[in-house]
Symmetry: C2
Amino acid sequence: MNLKTLRQLLKVCADDKRLRIINALSNRELVVKDICSLIKSTQPTVSKHLANLRMLRVVVDRREGNLVYYRLNNNPDSPQRQLVDFIVSQFSQLVVFQEDKKEVRNRGRRKKI
Amino acid sequence: MNLKTLRQLLKVCADDKRLRIINALSNRELVVKDICSLIKSTQPTVSKHLANLRMLRVVVDRREGNLVYYRLNNNPDSPQRQLVDFIVSQFSQLVVFQEDKKEVRNRGRRKKI
DNA sequence: TTCGCATATACCCATAACATTATATATCAC
DNA sequence: GTGATATATAATGTTATGGGTATATGCGAA
C-alpha cells in the first residue's frame, strides 16, 4: 500500500453514484442491470463506475451465464473493506442510503436475482 | 450530513498533498510556511489545499500575528475526525507519512513554531 | 451458424480539479 | 504613513473526470 493507492481508493469512493453502489452492495450482490435501475443511470455509465471500483478492488465480480454479479470485496484485512465499512456504518442514516437499501430489498423480493 | 457532504469529504482527502498535510497535522499544528517546505509546494498551492480542507472542516485555523496556524478538527463526534482517524491510523506505516512525521518532529526541535 | 440479451469499451463533450504566476490582504516593525 | 513578511485570492492553462451515444464482446438459445 502506498500513497497513490490510498488516494485512488478515496477518490473512487468520492462520487455520489459510486457511494450509492457501495451502499447497495453492502446488502447483497447485484447484477449491473439492477444497479442501472437503482441509481437511474445508463448501462455504460454504471459499467464504468463498476470498472473503477473493480480496479481498486473495492468490489469483485463473478460471471454467471450472461449476467455479471458484483459484490463488495469482503477481505476483512483489506483497506478497501475498512473504508467501505467506515462509509456504510458511519453514514447509514443518510436518506439516499436508506431509500436505496429499501429498494434493493424490495427488488430482491419481487424477482429472483 | 447528506450524500453531497460525504462525497466532498472523501474527495477533499483524495489528494496526495492533502493526505500528507492531514498526516502532518496529526502530529501538531503547523503554519502555512511549514507545510510549504514539508510538501515542497508553492505557497498559493498550499493555501488552496488548506482552504479546501478548511471548507470541509477537516482542519481549523487560528491567526496569531501574521501567522496562521492550522490543526485538525478534533471534534471527536464529527465525520471529519472519524475519517481523519481512519486515514492516519490505518495507513501510518506509509513511507511518506513516516518521513513527514519525522520531518515535522525535527523541524519542531530546530526552531520554535 | 444467427439472434437476442447483458455487459464492456471507445469516443466525444462538458465540467471540475490542480499547478503556476501575479496580485491582494493582513499584520508587524519602524 | 512605508516596507517587510505571511497568507489568501484571482486569472489562466492543462489535465482529469463523469455522462452520453455508438459499438464491441460474451454467452445462451435455437
